[in-house]
Amino acid sequence: MTQPQSAAERLDRAVDGVLDGLSPVAAAAAAGTGPAGRPLVLLAGELRAGLATPPVAARFEERLGARLAPALHGRAPVAWAIRHPGRLLVTGAVGSAVGVGVTAYAVWRSTRRSGAAHRLLHR
């Protein structure tokens, strides 16, 4: 394995280690960042621990799910139905199942959120 050449490359390797679960001190040592780079690796550890993904609002998920559901069914419905009338029922059933699945997922997601996160969304 070749040793990274620049400080930015060594720092990036250390950040890889931090994101993979190494302690910042161990990641800095493994990447050879040296004393100058070590505070930045410690900061990377703080960022990994401190930056959260914001929760998605349940009503937005429902709206987006409803918008995507017809596209998930695919195909131009009328022309395709004329050419394949026998498959129309099957497509309708599958399409409905997908729509129900997306909606059910949105509902399930909304119920598993913590109360605190949920309150933040009622703006």
Binding site: D16, L43, L47, L51, A52, L64
Partner: protein, 193 residues
Amino acid sequence: MTRPMERTAGRGPAEDPDIGDVLAAQADRAAFATLYRRYLDRVYGYCFYLLGDHHDAEDATERTFVAALGAIDRYRDEGSTFRAWLFRIAHNQLANALRARSRHRTASLDDVPEPMATVNDPARLAGIADEARRLRAAVAALSDERRQVIVLRFVDGLSAREIGEVLERSEGAVRVLQHRALRDLATLLEPEG
């Protein structure tokens, strides 16, 4: 809270963890639902950290997934991972949203929840919350490009190579941006006085 997902740092496109689901979605669009579920939080997070507003982030997220679903048939595994391709679409939507704004962002990122803590000590929890708020305020003060790198790296878990594909920069340029962003953050977070 969702932690950064598994990364593909330094790995080839053949190891794109999503490629099986992408091929399934190309064969049957219903399978796109799997990718949608996997990436909804992360794309939304990227949009929110960059726009600082829930409604704007929802609009950009919606446009991203509608565009991705419309283009999924054209996605080809040519050296880029699916998630780099998806975040590239999000990046373009963000660029449009930022251009459309006549005002500066109003982002305080105050609505982002505190990281989930496993301690029960109220004083310790308050300290964690304060520290997270401090970090978010510093991230919000970065330039757009440096903030993008920090968010894609630490919130979304993308590798430097993937971020380069999203931002249309070289992997080396992303590493330099990351280095400068972390230095900026260190300065911003220095205790006053």
